[in-house]
Point group: C2
Chain length 461, copies 2
């Protein structure tokens, strides 16, 4: 059995902690068994490891999340990178073709698809494993998982099974209902309806056949090139609604969509994460502070305070689902990003009256990692090394760097830097347009240049 | 008539906007007639100008507030600097001696003392002017101003006048009562009691005699040296309670002590100051944001949100007087300071595990101003110029600076910088202990060094 984890969304529903580069599943706000703060993705991956499912798993996501996933889950996780955002059907089709043509997975193998961030008990993943035998035994196209509802929510999709007297764990599906009214939801629940939690399983050949029928290639590299031709549709509409025989496996246990601050704070391990405090007389109040300055919350009720370099949110909890309307016109660059090589934080970004901009960043490059060899067309940079050891390459010249060193990088100057121990630099950018996209990446063979330098050194002696 | 404005307090009652270097009277949160945000001090000084009292005024304050006063009121305001904080009596005695021995004010002249930050109508200052004739006409030692109460506050001091049938504007004082219960306050008000608003007037000789009787000098420079010998006592206890004849001039008009967030927000011109927004369904909610990042407030009631580089406060308004207990253990350096030469903002302050610290500042030096010639024992600095033009002196060598220039300042390197137009630099400090006090100021004659350089230049030609 193979697992495909879908990591989507760049939503702002958890602003200011989620942004275009950090979707909600990457916010480190939950607690693991050791009391460390972990993200939803990290929690799920830990659960997969417990069930020994991680080695059978691949993650499908967009380019913008790759560095974040590598930073949080390590560099060995296999990732299928969607060339563009095109909804869940294309992502699942691409993943299926990847399993088939890159990993040589047998077409009879069962594949389960699930979101990367369900908030569930470990039990949930045992049920996911069980889907393999359900697909085989039921001889159906699709086996879904359905959560036994705990209240008549009008926000979820419902799977209505056929009532059957039997000894089987799974049930045939009669039909589906998206977001019914609360009344209708209660009626559906009375009929035995289940919440659709976005978990689908099928034999690999089922999806491969669909791809073939669309006239698309079963070769991964080829499909990547034609990805834009796949129908921009959800798996629900494109596959589930058209399938002949579907069964559902009920799951009775904890399941929660931590999509708004309201629901998320219910799962926070402590009421304060980060620097700050809440007065003792405050009730049902939570604080998440990713800034370096303290936050004081005094005499409040039902309040969520979240602060990050992107902004500060203070919301009455039940009002939090309305957050989206408040921030539609915010178009700010991310102020904090985790990258493959470490992280950076914007300390200051100012546009002067003369049209020039200034941006100050604190950059941390993790030991053994490096910034790629690059140049900029519209900005100069000054690096002041404040911590750690490493080496920099400036216009093909290698130099050792240590705290106190200053490196000036004019317009179009080639530069790279590598950390021998965790390296921190303050970067001051100046220029006409300071955007991440103003970057030309160049080839650099660190070993070669290091060897060259050694040769020159030895010649000098 | 002369006015002495007392600028005291380094309280944290308006944290995070007030701190050790910025007392509450300097927070720019009120609105002037043109819609500009002004501080309490600026508002009062504007009112003094309207009444043409500013030219007769001096400000008594501590060293720590001098730069802030110069920055907000200009460099021409005469300031008496208390050598140490010793309560109001010593401050008023020093101011009286300053008027006498430095400004040669006649000993018969009437002096009025008032806090630098009452929130009042212009009328108030017309009443203050009137105190001159009250002192002369009443032939008393002291004439006070009393505010006609609007409610039985238990937080103020009360002046109880003798009931007199007469045509005079002022009344003899019977006695005083500090912070009575609300019941007692109501009884006092029924007897015609007035709030003590900290305005005292007297002939200059009255205080000079007291100073003489204490065996202290009437020469300003001498008194500065012996300032620590003056009784550490308030003017109320040291003078008012011992005076023989006191009269009070009632003032019927707006008067408010903007000492807590609760009272201050009632006088804010707009509900949002700075970057951010409050949802339309929020009620009685105020936001003051001095950070560069946006703040969103959603669905709240009776809330105050205040953010500055020192921290973030979210408080239910009626709980705000309890703020002090929440921040007793905060011992943070000020993150933003206004200075004689401009301002600086701390962008980042980090202590590394090896005991070294790193601090990044954005510094703005106003056109024509300069940082003094100085050196540091425990830190090196790197300046990256990002805006403006000027010149720097590094170890006695003059150099012109412009955006993009980088200046490295090792330990014990002498340095100064002067702005020819508003100059901004990013300063990265590194060292074992990064505190403002690690500074040795040196003499520097800019003109001399500029002339020297011109001579060298001309010799070169």
């Amino acid at each position: 059995m193979k697992l495909v984890l879908l990591s989507g969304g760049s939503g702002k529903r958890l602003w200011p902690l989620s942004n275009d580069s950090r979707s909600k599943q990457f916010i480190k706000i939950l607690e693991d068994n050791d009391g460390n703060h972990v993200s939803m993705v990290q929690r799920v991956y830990q659960q997969l490891m417990t069930e020994q499912l991680n080695k059978s798993s691949i993650i499908a996501t967009s380019k913008s999340q790759v560095e974040m996933i590598r930073s949080q889950l390590g560099s060995n996780v296999p990732i299928v990178i969607e060339p563009e955002r095109r909804d869940t059907f294309p992502a699942i089709a691409l993943s299926a073709v990847y399993l088939y043509s890159e990993l040589n997975v047998d077409i009879e193998e069962v594949v389960a698809v699930l979101p990367v961030d369900p908030y569930v008990d470990d039990d949930f993943f045992r049920k996911v494993s069980q889907l393999e035998s359900v697909v085989i035994e039921s001889e159906t196209d699709l086996a879904l998982m359905g959560v036994i509802p705990t209240y008549p929510s009008s926000k979820y999709g419902y799977i209505i099974p056929v009532k059957e007297q039997g000894k089987k764990d799974y049930l045939p599906v009669s039909h589906f209902k998206e977001k019914p009214s609360e009344n209708d939801a209660q009626n559906l629940i009375n009929q035995g309806a289940l919440w659709n939690c976005g978990v689908f399983s099928f034999r690999l050949k089922f999806i491969l056949n669909m791809v073939k029928e669309l006239g698309m290639p079963l070769n991964y590299e080829e499909l990547l090139k034609q990805y834009h031709l796949l129908p921009k549709n959800s798996f629900d509409y494109e596959v589930v609604e058209k399938a002949n025989k579907i069964v559902v496996l009920p799951y009775e246990g904890y399941w929660k969509d931590l999509g708004t601050w309201n629901t998320l704070t219910e799962e926070m391990g402590s009421s304060v994460i980060g620097k700050g405090k809440i007065s003792e007389d405050s009730t049902n109040t939570h604080l998440v502070n990713e800034l370096d300055i303290p936050v004081v919350v005094l005499g409040t009720s039902n309040l969520l305070v979240a602060a990050s370099p992107d902004g500060i949110l203070i919301t009455e909890k039940s009002a939090s689902p309305r957050l989206k309307e408040m921030i539609t016109d915010f178009d700010q660059r991310p102020m904090y990003e985790e990258r493959r090589w470490g992280w950076y934080k914007v300390l200051d970004h100012t546009k002067f009256e003369d049209g020039n901009e200034m941006l100050t960043k604190r950059i941390c490059i993790k030991s053994g990692k490096n910034l790629s060899y690059q140049l900029h067309d519209k900005r100069s940079e000054v690096w002041t090394v404040v911590k750690g050891q490493g080496s920099a390459v400036i216009n093909d010249q290698l130099q050792i760097v240590k705290p106190g060193d200053v490196i000036q990088i004019p317009l179009r100057c080639k530069h790279a830097i590598k950390a021998d121990s965790d390296l921190e630099i303050i970067e001051v950018q100046r220029g006409s347009e300071l955007i991440e996209e103003d970057i030309f990446r160049l080839e650099l063979n660190w070993e070669n240049i290091e060897n060259q330098c050694k040769t020159i050194e030895s010649l000098n002696i």
